[in-house]
């Protein structure tokens, strides 16, 4: 069992977003968190990533509470949130080199091939702030192509991507799952027609 959520509850202000959420993520699984806007999808992901403490319940990584095994957990976690963590002053390559290095990886040569794979050819020397929203998203998602973490938590990964970008991402998800990785994501896209099985967790808007 890679990641478990036990009786998770989140309260924002006066409102209970969700309570008693349980999920068991094993390797090879893709979990899609669904629900209307404001139902607490992002909050759930942030709780699972350990960025937000749950009001009640616990998140376990390989059976151990994530607060107790923080460094071991983050060694194997890749989280791309709503704000992707791409520095706008730096180029795509500089951004990716940083994230590779802090994951313990190193590019032996400038990662042109990687950029080609995510459709950023010819844009490698341009600061990210001068690229479009979709292109910036692609830089962040390019991390998925070299990352060797087992668990990916992605908040709306398909946002701002065009059709080809979405197809690329699906292809990459499939590889990751085939290699024993696991993915938790939020999306309004219908993933049922994909070639990999999708576990779904639906959050309802609570008043």
């Amino acid at each position: 069992m890679l990641l478990q959520g036990r009786e998770l509850q989140s309260v924002r202000g006066e409102r209970t977003l969700f309570s008693d959420i349980n999920l068991d993520v094993t390797s090879g699984q893709l979990w899609q968190i669904e629900g209307p806007n404001g139902a607490g999808k992002s909050s759930l992901l942030r709780i699972l990533a350990g960025l937000l403490p749950p009001q009640h319940g616990a998140v376990l990584f390989e059976g151990e509470r994530i607060e107790q095994c923080r460094e071991r957990y983050y060694y194997d976690l890749l989280f791309i949130g709503h704000k992707a963590g791409i520095k706008p002053e730096l180029t795509a390559i500089e951004n990716l080199e940083f994230y590779a290095a802090v994951e313990g990886l190193e590019f032996t040569q400038p990662p042109y091939e990687l950029l080609a794979q995510v459709g950023l050819v010819g844009l490698e020397d341009i600061p990210a702030q001068r690229l479009s929203a979709g292109q910036q998203r692609r830089i962040a998602l390019a991390r998925l192509w070299f990352s060797q973490t087992r668990l990916w938590i992605l908040d709306e990964p398909f946002t701002a991507l065009d059709v080809s970008g979405i197809a690329l991402l699906h292809e990459r998800f499939q590889q990751h799952l085939a290699h024993g990785g696991a993915i938790i994501l939020t999306s309004h896209q219908d993933l049922q027609s994909m070639s990999y099985p999708v576990q779904r967790l639906t959050l309802r808007y609570q008043h």
């Binding site: 704000k83 730096l90 940083f98 290095a101 802090v102 313990g104 990886l105 600061p127 024993g180």
Partner: protein, 253 residues
């Protein structure tokens, strides 16, 4: 851990990580030292691409210092007596100007979240941010200190001590400043609150720094106040990362 190895190999055979190699063939290692270096490198690089942000506090400092003789009159004895205090007060205020930069941009673009998710102690990454802030804000001030001292006609025998107070006192500004910014970064109008929060804490620093210079001018040893500033400095640089970590946890919620 053999699983990692097989996974890495599998990935390489599919050609997707062809341009990537793990630092050690068998097992990727995330070392604290490397993460620390990477954060410093990236932040310096980012800062070099927005130089105007770096220059503004320095220009502010220079303007204040050049205006002072015009305001209080160019009498060398008056200027010499107030020089250390004026330089320190201006340095303090100019430090406040650019302080938010420590975490504000990282908060906006999500790099702060990513920093909290690194598989090394958060305190270490925070220390990296504090070091970068010190390098970018205090080192330029240290470089122009002789010019400031000259402009205010500070007697030459006190230059060294003034410089020393700035050298060991400015890390306190960066470290304590980081705590304040960590607490206020998620607020929209945190600027005024930040100054209110920090300036009272920095008053002792101001008092001891000017006391050290005055002692030198009076022909007494400045060792006492200097030792106190040194103690503040060590204390704040070692303990601030812990407080910053707690502050950031609250701010990213």
């Amino acid at each position: 851990m053999t699983e990692h190895v097989t996974r890495a190999k599998a990935a390489i055979t599919t050609g997707h990580t062809a341009a990537v190699k793990t630092t050690q063939q068998a097992q990727r290692v995330v070392s604290s030292r490397k993460v620390f270096q990477q954060i410093i490198r990236r932040d310096l690089r980012v800062a070099m691409r927005q130089r105007s942000d770096l220059l503004n506090p320095l220009i502010f400092l220079l303007i204040v210092i050049t205006l002072f003789p015009l305001g209080v009159g160019p009498g060398p004895d008056i200027l010499g007596r107030i020089a250390a205090g004026v330089i320190w007060v201006s340095a303090l205020l100019s430090a406040m100007l650019g302080l938010e930069r420590i975490f504000r941009d990282d908060f906006r673009d999500g790099a702060l979240e990513q920093m909290l998710l690194l598989p090394v102690a958060v305190e270490l990454s925070v220390l990296g941010k504090i070091v970068v802030h010190w390098l970018l804000t205090a080192v330029p001030v240290l470089l122009i200190t002789p010019l400031l001292a000259l402009l205010l006609n500070l007697p030459v025998q006190a230059w060294g001590v003034l410089w020393l107070t700035l050298l060991i006192g400015t890390p306190i500004l960066s470290a304590a400043g980081a705590i304040g910014v960590a607490l206020t970064v998620s607020l929209n109008k945190g600027g005024a609150l930040l100054s209110l929060l920090l300036l009272p804490l920095l008053v002792p620093l101001l008092i001891f720094a000017t006391a050290a210079v005055e002692a030198t001018l009076a022909g007494v040893s400045p060792a006492g106040p200097l030792a106190l500033i040194g103690a503040f400095s060590v204390l704040s640089v070692t303990l601030a990362p812990l407080a910053v970590k707690a502050g950031l946890r609250v701010s990213v919620n």
